[in-house]
């Protein structure tokens, strides 16, 4: 346990808490834009950019890799948009293509870097499945600051986001620029993805954006509290997943975080107060009983009259 509570791990845990919270809240925006899988495509698309930044610098520099990842992720978003709007190819096909082709390019580049035998290559493999424990203090602070920024953007403009998601026509009438909102949305989404990659990995980063909002829906109907609950679940999954993965030598962080998030999802699915399985079963049972009671009452009155 002493190792668990080393100063470095404490900082890693704090930053995972913030990352999880940021991802959970941004995930709510994607959820209501019905773009959950878009985040999956964008996180896979981030791989080649991160590797190119590494190749240019020749060493692992987190800010540069984040910037490179952000560029290729945005390029992926541009391709999806372009393919969808300028051809007969549907959006989900475009997403699948961008996801797998960019990832293929990333794998090509990673393999090339690994074959040149550069000593600092270890940082690249952790890009795929994430290795939160390997982050140094500077990386942790970078992540922490960016995640806090994202949280700030979502919560400060909460009302605007609500309009943007649920009543774009009204929002446009109020003079809110939909273009601007869309750009800000894409920017914070990509930001969360690229800062999370180091810790969670490109393949599973999307899970941290998708699962907490899906779980939060079982607890509340209000958008604001959904943001809070999803943030809470995301943060909880980030922290507990990181703790579990640090118990085994070389265990990847990403899969454990995902399992922690899925566990919270199952709990929500069963016990959630909004259409959770138990609540639904209970309501069904009450209705059946009422129906049965009213039936017996009708039959009873019928008998009396007869």
């Amino acid at each position: 346990m002493e190792i668990l509570w080393s100063a470095n791990l404490q900082w890693v845990l704090v930053s995972m808490l913030f990352l999880g919270m940021a991802a959970g809240t941004i995930g709510c925006l994607s959820y209501w834009k019905r773009q959950s899988l878009m985040s999956d495509a964008l996180s896979h698309a981030a791989l080649p950019g991160g590797v190119v930044a590494f190749m240019l610098l020749g060493e692992k520099q987190l800010p540069a890799m984040i910037a490179g990842a952000a560029v290729s992720s945005l390029l992926g978003a541009f391709f999806i948009q372009m393919i969808r709007s300028s051809s007969r190819i549907k959006e989900d096909t475009a997403m699948g293509m961008v996801l797998s082709v960019f990832f293929g390019l990333g794998i090509m580049l990673v393999t090339m870097v690994n074959r040149t035998g550069n000593g600092n290559q270890s940082g690249l493999d952790s890009f795929i499945f994430g290795q939160a424990a390997s982050m140094v203090r500077k990386d942790v602070f970078t992540m922490l600051a960016l995640a806090a920024l994202v949280l700030l953007v979502v919560f400060l403009a909460c009302k605007e986001w609500k309009l943007f998601l649920f009543d774009p026509a009204f929002a446009a009438g109020l003079g809110l620029s939909m273009r601007l909102m869309n750009s800000v949305y894409l920017a914070v989404l990509v930001l969360v993805i690229v800062i999370g990659i180091q810790a969670v990995g490109v393949i599973l980063m999307a899970a941290l954006l998708i699962i907490p909002p899906a779980s939060a829906r079982y607890w509340t109907k209000s958008f604001r509290s959904m943001l809070a609950v999803a943030g809470l679940f995301g943060g909880g999954a980030g922290v507990s997943g990181t703790l579990f993965s640090s118990m085994g030598a070389g265990w990847p962080t990403g899969p454990f975080i995902v399992l922690a998030a899925s566990f919270l999802f199952l709990i929500s699915l069963v016990f959630g107060v909004e259409k959770g399985l138990l609540v639904r079963a209970f309501q069904l049972w009450i209705q059946r009983r009422r129906l049965a009671e009213s039936e017996t009452a009708i039959i009873g009155t019928g008998v009396k009259r007869g």
Partner: protein
């Protein structure tokens, strides 16, 4: 056959099988389901491996089909419980994939099955794992599996060609004339899983998505006829595989990664140059259309 000959043959078989299945995937708007299944198949393979301690043959196919169908069922079940479709896909496949990765990391990790292999495949090792097949002689295990799977796909597509066509383009009509739409759906998902697992050795869990979707999407830009699309898509798949192999040899890099990348280039070419739906044709055509 020579070492690179086997690799080329195996890669082309992946291209052709995935190309045919991919056509129906994108026409049925199930591209992201393919992505999900290609991830969850990993769990099926790992569990089959943990149970039998063998990394070949029928067990893996069975494990993969079960995992694929489980994914389809779970996604539908969650949708019925009020989760949006793409969120449901996201929840199911990331969870099952994570369980697979953790099982590999904690239990099954060894020379035969590691995470690297699961992601990118190891087509360079394919020619070393030989099996003895009657009449043909010694042939790599993965190549043999792919040959069988391609035969199954061809059989399924040709035998039910009309049924596939109707259920794909007009499921309601199909239901009204008594074609078992749900059965065809699950049969198709089974085919997707089998194709994925057969391609697993060669291209890995994630890059198989590229081989499934991209050649079919390219073919979709060139033709409106299903039969032509099937042929074109298979040809594009095989071409991506062969060109990708030589690109990888030239750059000394991952073969599967470069196959995926090449399929992307083929798509980009189609997007620009296709006579009917291409961007260049669009630039030229307004002048004609205005007449």
């Amino acid at each position: 056959m020579s070492y690179s000959g086997w690799i080329l043959l195996t890669a082309s078989l992946v291209g052709v099988s995935c190309g045919m299945i991919g056509v129906f995937l994108i026409l049925r708007r199930m591209a992201m389901m393919a992505d999900a299944i290609s991830h969850t198949v990993l769990l099926g393979i790992v569990i089959a491996y943990l149970v039998t301690r063998e990394l070949a043959g029928v067990h893996m196919l069975v494990g993969a089909v079960v995992a694929g169908l489980l994914t389809t069922l779970l996604v539908q079940w969650f949708q019925g419980r009020g989760v949006q479709q793409d969120a449901a896909i996201g929840v199911v496949f990331t969870t099952l994939f994570s369980i697979g990765v953790i099982l590999i990391a904690a239990k099954a990790g060894n020379a035969h099955l590691d995470v690297q292999h699961a992601l990118m495949g190891e087509i360079a090792f394919v020619p070393w794992e030989l099996v003895e097949v009657p009449l043909i002689g010694e042939i790599p295990q993965a190549t043999f599996t792919l040959l069988v799977v391609l035969a199954v796909i061809l059989l399924a597509v040709l035998a039910f060609y009309k049924e596939w066509k109707i259920t794909t383009f007009d499921p309601e009509l199909a239901a009204s004339i008594g074609i078992p739409v749900a059965f065809m759906h699950y049969l198709f998902m089974g085919l997707v899983s089998v194709t994925t697992v057969a391609s697993f050795d060669a291209v890995g869990a994630i890059l198989v998505v590229a081989m499934l979707i991209t050649p079919a999407a390219s073919a979709y830009l060139w033709t409106d006829r299903l039969a032509v699309m099937l042929a074109l898509s298979s040809a594009f798949g095989a071409a991506s595989a062969v060109i990708g192999y030589y690109l990888a040899v030239w750059l000394d890099t991952s073969i599967s990664g470069s196959m995926a990348f090449t399929s992307g280039l083929v798509f980009l070419f189609s997007l620009l140059c296709s006579p009917k739906h291409g961007l260049l044709a669009r630039l030229v055509r307004p002048a004609l259309r205005n007449k």
